[in-house]
């Protein structure tokens, strides 16, 4: 991992901005700083981005650096990887990570393996980013949580912020990173407001953040479900259950040390992961915990995932399909033998 300067957010001015503004601010600042950085993807320029993340960037940087591509994920992802091999630093926006599946070969077979296969000669400093996860009633094809699929691959870094502040800090770090970074955003969160430091702001990879301190049970999560964990923790507090909520922020690298530290304190752990359970980051965390905390755990690691079915369309089914506060509360009670 590259070394990064962490600027204490309390030192810089903060103001409330949306998640999408935080992403844009990071990209804009990095593009001002480094001419090798450019953004490409479908509708990113003239249309201002399908979800308005890149709004106004065309005006500042022009069409040579904010590039509208055709609907051609395999082609433009591959092209960007070639450009990264030459030393440029592309940011590739997938309108949705669901559409990255047609680019599986370049993003999985080329980007994360190039450095290794070339014996260290050609790296691939690139950021792939876009909307990930269900929740918008888009049906199964458009609701992919790719963290389960893609985190399996060595050579890539996977980032999944849960709040605007981290969105900016992690995006800045991602763009400066020399390795391929898969940056997962949730369309459901783009309008979320929060305090975000101005100016240079970096959040290092591989450092979880305690979003709520607690003593009875550790909730481990990343991305949008962190917010469901916070809701659940507030609910459980009313029952006298004190949850510690850990926001992993990056799946690869995984800050297992922070999880272990918390579990040694609480002796109980529930992992909340919006991908499917089979072969997932959640199962990986559980497996590593059983290795490191076998004697500390007073119950097996419980897991809350999306249901093991294709994502349904109907509102009620989709809500039940996703990890939600109710299902998290149930898992915590069960884990603590209070069901």
């Amino acid at each position: 991992m590259s070394t990064v300067t962490v600027i204490d957010p309390t030192m810089s001015a903060t103001r409330e901005i949306e998640f999408r503004d935080a992403l844009r601010e990071a990209m804009t600042q990095e593009m001002r700083r480094d001419p090798r950085v450019f953004l490409l993807g479908e509708e990113v320029a003239q249309y201002n981005g399908a979800y308005k993340v890149s709004k106004g960037m065309l005006d500042e940087f022009g069409p040579r650096r904010i590039i509208d591509t055709p609907i051609s994920e395999s082609g433009f992802a591959g092209m960007a990887i070639g450009a990264a091999m030459m030393g440029l630093r592309p940011i590739v926006e997938f309108m949705s990570w669901s559409f990255s599946l047609v680019a599986a070969d370049p993003i999985l077979n080329n980007a994360p393996k190039m450095l290794y296969m070339s014996g260290g000669q050609f790296g691939c400093p690139i950021v792939f980013r876009g909307n990930d996860g269900a929740g918008g009633q888009l049906g199964s094809t458009h609701s992919w949580c790719v963290e389960g699929l893609f985190s399996n691959v060595p050579g890539l870094k996977m980032v999944i912020p849960s709040c605007p502040e981290d969105a900016k800090g992690l995006m800045t770090t991602a763009i400066r990173d020399d390795d391929p970074v898969f940056f997962l955003e949730s369309e459901r969160m783009l309008g979320m407001k929060g305090h975000v430091p101005e100016g240079d702001y970096l959040v290092p990879f591989g450092q979880a953040k305690v979003r709520r301190e607690g003593t009875d049970c550790t909730l481990v999560s990343f991305g949008r479900p962190v917010n469901f964990c916070l809701d659940a923790a507030a609910e459980l507090a009313k029952e006298g259950i004190s949850c510690e909520v850990l926001d992993m922020r990056t799946i690869r690298p995984l800050d297992i040390d922070s999880i272990v530290r918390s579990v040694r304190k609480t002796n109980y752990c529930v992992v909340v992961d919006q991908s499917w359970s089979f072969g997932s980051p959640g199962s990986e965390v559980a497996s590593q915990l059983h290795q490191h905390c076998f004697d500390d755990l007073d119950n097996f690691v419980h897991r809350v995932h999306s249901a093991d079915v294709p994502t349904p369309y109907a509102f009620n089914l989709e809500q039940e399909y996703l990890p939600n506060a109710r299902r998290i509360c149930e898992a915590v009670r069960s884990c603590l033998y209070r069901a």
Binding site: F38, M85, G87, G119
Partner: protein, 380 residues
């Protein structure tokens, strides 16, 4: 059909099935400026080196010194040699898995290419890529790629980066052109079509060269590809100029490619080349070649690109027996040495298993400087 008894001028086989050499934008072809005989002899040497290297490579494979898949370039030497001669040393090149010829033509030392196949630390990628994945930063070779067609979007990206660096970062006209090679079978991969659309759309100076040897494994081009007799039509559909080039003749390759490359450089536009050639050996080491006749093979063998160049030089009195003999001896020694060197090169240490996964802390790659593994190596 009894082709063996036919006079040598008869050419009953045409794997490309052309109804005539249609070239919709023929501006670049047809030039035949005289070539400096010394340069011609250099090309002959390069082609002979590839031929000898590949012959020895097959032996090494049979002796189980080389593992995995191994694709032999014999018959197509004029393509790699002519194309690399037509570009500048810093024009990036990317190709598929039949890549030994491109690596050698680009200037990779035979020992580094051989050692890669031996899975030794002295290999161009420290033994971590293998026969299909030859990389050489020093010589601007961006791989060797094993997935059919995957390298073409990358090649377009290389050219995109060249243009971006010149025009957007440095504010000067584009100066470089990328060459991206593919096989005829790769024409049916979606990635190629997406890449051609992007190249056409964004004015990307990439020459996409289809090494059309008439077969993808056992499938003749006509069994797998619609409009197989006229593949430049595919590029024309993307607004890209297409050219048909005789890939069995290094002089044609050099002349035509020089014109095509310079046009792309000048106009900052892509081009597509139907490079007609023939692979003399099987697809890989385990191919009994049941899908074509001996007669067909013999006809194409009589068209050997090395033979053609030799004849060209001999007719002009530019290649004496003594010079040729010396050349052949040197090459034999060089390839033999590459094998001995590769045998002697250590296996990669176990630490290599975990190196180069990420740039830091394990990778030597730091963006611009020569990677550590190549420092001090006698890369030609």
């Amino acid at each position: 059909m009894s082709m063996l008894s036919e006079p040598s001028t008869s050419r009953p086989f045409d794997v490309h099935g052309s109804p005539g050499e249609r070239t919709l934008a023929p501006a670049a072809t047809g030039r035949r400026d005289p070539v400096d005989p010394a340069l011609c002899r250099q090309w002959l040497r390069d082609m002979l080196l590839i031929r000898e290297f590949e012959n020895r490579c097959m032996q090494q494979y049979q002796d189980k010194k080389i593992g995995g898949f191994c694709h032999i370039y014999i018959g197509q030497e004029a393509v790699a040699v002519g194309c690399t001669a037509a570009v500048r040393p810093n024009d990036p090149i990317v190709t598929a898995y039949r890549d030994h010829g491109h690596a050698l033509a680009r200037g990779m030392a035979a020992r580094h290419c051989m050692a890669e196949m031996f899975g030794k630390i002295g290999g161009c990628a420290k033994g971590k890529g293998g026969s299909m994945h030859m990389f050489d930063r020093e010589h601007h070779l961006y791989g060797g790629h094993g997935i059919v067609g995957a390298q073409i979007p990358l090649g377009v990206g290389l050219a995109f980066a060249c243009k971006y660096m010149d025009e957007v970062i440095d504010g000067r006209p584009n100066s470089r052109v990328a060459l991206a090679f593919l096989g005829d079978g790769a024409l049916n991969q979606g990635a190629i079509h997406e890449a051609m659309n992007l190249a056409g759309l964004f004015d990307i100076p990439c020459v996409i060269i289809c090494e059309n040897n008439g077969y993808s494994m056992g499938t003749s081009i006509h069994r797998g590809t619609t409009m197989g007799h006229d593949i430049i039509s595919k590029a024309i559909g993307y607004g890209i100029d297409g050219y048909v080039v005789d890939g069995m003749d290094v002089l044609s390759v050099y002349h035509d490619m020089s014109a095509i490359v310079e046009k792309c450089r000048r106009e900052s536009r892509p081009a597509f080349v139907d490079m007609r050639c023939y692979r003399f050996k099987g697809h890989s080491m385990s191919d009994p070649r049941k899908y074509r006749t001996t007669e067909e093979e013999l006809q194409y063998a009589s068209d050997d690109p090395i033979g053609r160049l030799k004849l060209h030089l001999e007719e002009r009195g530019e290649l004496s027996d003594a010079v040729l003999k010396d050349m052949q001896r040197e090459i034999r020694d060089e390839v033999r040495e590459s094998i001995a060197w590769s045998e002697a090169s250590p296996e990669p240490p176990m630490t290599e298993l975990y190196h180069d996964v990420f740039v830091e802390p394990h990778g030597p790659y730091n963006g611009t400087s020569l990677p550590k593994m190549l420092q001090g190596k006698d890369l030609r």
